[in-house]
Amino acid sequence: MPTDVLPEQAKAPSPGRKPARLGAPRRPETGDGAVAFWMILPAGILFALFYVWPFLHGFWLSLTNWDGFSEPRFAGLANYWRLARDPIFLGAIENNLIFVLSVLVLKNILGLALALLLNRALLGRAFFRAAAFIPVTMSFVAVGLLWSWIYNPVFGLLNAGLDAVGLGALKQSWLGDAHIALYSVIAVDVWKWLGFHAVIYLAGLQTIPTDLYESATMDGASRVRRFWHITLPLIMPIVFINTILGLSGAFVRNFDIVYVLTKGGPNHATEVALTYMMTKAFQDGQMSYASAMGYVLFLIVGLACVLLLALMRRSRLAV
């Protein structure tokens, strides 16, 4: 949950530097160098061991042909070529994209709607806010198990509910039908994170000065117009924050929920890149091939983040 990333980048040039320039004669204070070295060293060691080493090692591995036991043989880009022609992997990437897009749209629209509801002097506002936030504190596993029971065809809440209101015709095998399983999984992810995004939107809404609305009302602007012309433009930075937070999450943190709900089935209908990667690595022993998937996924996530940040920078100038 990198909530602090964005505001910080905006004011990146650190104030620590200024005094040095003002107090001219004392040239670069390398006196701090030794202290800084020792203070950063522990973090540096962890970083080298668990970021740099795996990252490089995995990349080398993705260029070899390795089953996990014998000596790895260099194979160039063979794994990547194979990925480009692997229908299951391509299907998984497609599912990932559907997952990300639906989740982002739903989380933003529903999150903003919920925040607008809560952004009023309501009796019991804190209560509703807390209730909406509860799923955020639950683990993906707990959420996944809960929903696998809700979707259960025999005693599940959803089918029983449809029966109770006379919509029995809509009953489904929610996780068993290849046409809807992916959307059932997506709904669970939205359910878990809705409160998180709503709370962030709520905080954003509360920074909008009230007098803007008052003068607009005075000028006879309708509620809809006030929303489009005041709320929405001023909330755009928060939309971007929510989108960035949702984006990386939806790409790389869906393993738990897919694994618990469907394990990628039926017949790969809910397969995402991470579940396929784990299957290839630990069931089929194709470590190199699975590593290559990790890098493709990394490239896609990185590209999406960079694009979004560029868009954000541009439109911030425009707004």
Binding site: G16, F55, F298
Partner: protein, 300 residues
């Protein structure tokens, strides 16, 4: 607070212009009022009722569960909880989760704080590089490196090793934590530190005695984030803990679910035992929690 669109909570004297009906508590206001509560009621229903349903289910007999899907249990079967605790081995899973999370948080704070302090306050060559690397690392989710991370952990003897997993958790939570802590250190006034330096205090003494107490909210925020992340994690634990007796709560839940066939009421009980404490902690601390969460995101 109220963003000017609604004013029914603070009834104001009727205005002259009848045209502006929005603020008035007429029948239209009443309609809006009930509309909002209806919508919030639906929100409440869809978040809270499923949990209530699990609570009900955890206290039902199995036949009661099938025949009476919706309502509260006919009779309260507390035996479910005792059975679930025993069969699912929840006790040892809680111990594992607690010890791994605690160790990870200790390592994380001990390692990330000095690094964040150095990045915020010390002047040294390469600072910009270290900072850039920290930001870049936040964009590399550990999940994409799962396979090589597994191999590295294996080479270091960290498979099936609780302390090893704790250290890896600390490492994967580190970039974001350093970043958050650094932004807290940056907000502290520089003269505080200068005064102490004039008095001859060492950098380490300044960090531990003067700065650390002042960035407590930052440390708390980092600990809350990392706690939720680590306590709830399934992926890395699934990757690195392969022995049943070492499993954490999320692994144990999944294993119990897959190992036994349709012990539904017991499943419900295990979910209650493992989820309710966290929800209660959240409800008790929600003010700090939500304040910390939003403080970072909305300063933009």
């Amino acid at each position: 607070m109220a963003a000017g669109t609604s004013s029914f909570a603070t009834p104001r004297p009727a205005r002259r212009g009848v045209a502006d009906t929005l603020g008035d508590l007429g029948w239209r206001g009443l309609l809006e009022f009930s509309g909002i509560y209806l919508a919030l009621g639906i929100v409440l229903l869809q978040t809270v009722y499923p949990l209530l349903w699990v609570l009900f289910g955890s206290l039902k007999t199995k036949t009661d569960l099938i025949n009476n899907v919706w309502g509260p249990p006919q009779e309260l079967v507390f035996q479910n909880y005792a059975d679930a605790w025993r069969i699912a081995g929840i006790g040892s899973r809680i111990v594992n989760s607690l010890s791994i999370t605690a160790a990870a948080l200790v390592v994380l704070v001990a390692v990330a704080t000095p690094c964040a302090y150095a990045l915020a306050r010390l002047k040294f060559r390469g600072r910009a590089v270290v900072l850039a690397v920290t930001v870049a690392a936040m964009l590399v989710p550990p999940q994409v490196m799962a396979i090589p991370l597994f191999l590295v952990a294996r080479d270091l003897g960290m498979i099936n090793n609780r302390l090893g997993l704790a250290v890896i958790y600390a490492a994967t939570s580190m970039p974001l934590s350093v970043f958050i802590l650094r932004s807290f250190f940056l907000t502290l006034p520089a003269d505080l530190e200068d005064a102490a330096r004039v008095d001859g205090a060492s950098r380490l003494a300044i960090l531990t005695r003067i700065m650390l107490p002042l960035v407590k909210p930052g440390v708390a925020l980092v600990v809350i984030f990392a706690f939720i992340e680590i306590w709830n994690d399934f992926f890395l634990a699934f990757l690195l803990l392969r022995k049943p007796e070492l499993q954490t709560i999320p692994l144990g839940l999944v294993a119990f679910f897959q190992q036994y066939d349709s012990l539904w009421n017991l499943y419900f009980a295990t979910l209650m035992i493992t989820t309710l404490p966290v929800i209660i902690i959240f409800l008790l601390m929600q003010r700090q929690f939500i304040a910390g969460l939003t403080a970072g995101a909305v300063k933009a």
